[in-house]
């Protein structure tokens, strides 16, 4: 209740609009979005300001149109075959814009989904690096962290899966050529790497969140501009699309509590 604004917009809805903004300006690229807010953001962008975005069915196909979240497979119109082997063609050609999750993210944009602790014998084995190393050096990549805390925003990640700016720079031109960590969206705010030497900068705070709150939930020195804007409010049209068309069951509020 405390996180809704006068207009009744929930925190999750600000997260969705922040994720949608990640796809602004994209032409015909494959949008891959993991997590509820990113999945809704990609769809909302496709329905509004990024109409050429290419969405997937989450299995082995590209879909026509913009299906609601959780639409039954029978309702989807498949327009192209996209098995995993072809996904790598897309990834390595750069025709993709991706929002992945991050168990840990650090000041220079490294992400970890591999393991917590010493990789050789981790205290917690996670899923593995998956495609994060290849994604990050081939096409724009952003991250979604629904539980912003000093455990997820850390000084240095334990296992560099997704490659940040300093690591890419040290690896040389082949690594930096197509590297872009576009944004980090959390339940508290939106971040980019416009700080000194491509370090994480606070770009906007979601309404109802203070800069102090964000600072104390972040395990490293965050670059904070003198004036921090609020994450933009969704338009009435965007809200209607989100609430009535894309997510009538409010799955978004299960990921980020209202």
């Amino acid at each position: 209740m405390t996180t809704t604004t006068d207009a009744g917009i929930t925190r999750a809805e600000y997260c969705v609009i922040a994720c949608a903004e990640v796809f602004r300006g994209d032409g015909e690229v494959m949008a891959s979005a993991f997590g509820t807010a990113p999945a809704l953001g990609a769809r909302l962008a496709a329905l509004t300001f990024a109409p050429d975005l290419v969405l997937t069915d989450g299995d082995a196909a590209l879909v026509a149109g913009v299906p609601p979240l959780g639409a039954p497979p029978a309702d989807l119109v498949l327009e192209s075959h996209m098995p995993y082997r072809k996904v790598f063609d897309v990834v390595w050609s750069g025709r993709r814009n991706l929002i992945m999750m991050a168990s840990q993210i650090d000041r220079t944009g490294n992400q970890n989904i591999s393991a917590i602790g010493d990789w050789a014998r981790p205290t917690a084995q996670l899923v593995g690096v998956r495609g994060a190393p290849g994604n990050t050096v081939n096409h724009p990549t952003s991250y979604w962290v629904p539980n912003h805390s000093t455990r997820s925003f850390v000084e240095q990640v334990d296992v560099v899966s997704g490659v940040g700016y300093a690591r890419a720079g040290a690896a040389g031109p082949a690594a930096t050529r197509f590297h872009e960590i576009r944004a980090v969206v959390s339940n508290l705010g939106v971040f980019d790497f416009g700080g000194p030497d491509h370090t994480m900068r606070l770009r906007s705070a979601h309404p109802g969140v203070t800069v102090e709150e964000i600072r104390s939930a972040t395990g490293f020195e965050l670059d904070v501009p003198a004036a921090v804007p609020e994450t933009r409010r969704p338009t009435d049209d965007e809200l209607a699309l989100l609430r009535d068309v894309l997510d009538p069951r409010s799955l978004r509020d299960r990921e980020v509590a209202p």
């Binding site: 014998r121 996670l126 495609g131």
Partner: protein, 296 residues
Amino acid sequence: MTDKRLSLDDLVGELRSGMTIGIGGWGSRRKPMAAVRAILRSDLTNLTVASYGGPDVGLLCAAGKVKRVIYGFVTLDSIPTDPHFKAARQRGAVEATEVDEGMFYLGLLAASQRIPFLPTRAGLGSDVLRVNPGLRTVTSPYDDGEELVAMPAINLDAAIVHVNRADQRGSGQILGPDPFFDELFLGAAVRRFVTTERLVPTDELPAGGPIQTLSISRLLTDGVVETPGGAHFTACVPDYGRDEAFQKAYVAAAGEPDAWAAFHRRFLEVDEAGYQRAREEAAAERASATDGGGAR
């Protein structure tokens, strides 16, 4: 005309301890689980397992069959991680070669093309290079001079994949939407095995689906085993989806020694026919438990 039909025991008899074995499928999808279960019952040990990992990796780790896992991930799809693999890694019980999933693809491709490596950007700047100190980079011999990761061939002693239909000469048909990397697992291996939901006469294969579903050619296979339900509890669409209830029970049992002992006795200390009976009985028990709840 070569008849490549084998039994599961024949297949396992072709394997040796210490081998590097590739397992097809992806996560908890179209895994050759009947063959994995047969390996669990065998004396094989000290295996290196290369896999787009799912419960195949978890079960083999739990049984102490595995020396090393080569992987980009191990996941049950609808459940993020496999509990046995997680436990084995956290105990330090298995060695690990963790690479980007695209690097894994290139490793299989290089092996299937009999070349030592393939270059890629994937891996540059990441800890994949730190945790695999044997990985090397290669500098482009052309004017760009880019320094790329040289992903080495993942050469396999044996590979096992599971398909929807096959004939006795070893042509395989994949009817689901994604052939994954099964063709490359076979191409990368010395001994190549296909397990199948159903063996059919060759002239019935084309009726099953368009020509591109016939993606496993007999050039790539040495043995074929008919194992109905052989991917259970992973998905084998369109024949069947993932058995989510069974997978949940597998995960729940893995977390508790007594429950795992009971799971092991019921499902893994029996032959394949016994497994298929036991899992049908378990499904019937779940269904009647649900009905009972509804009736009250």
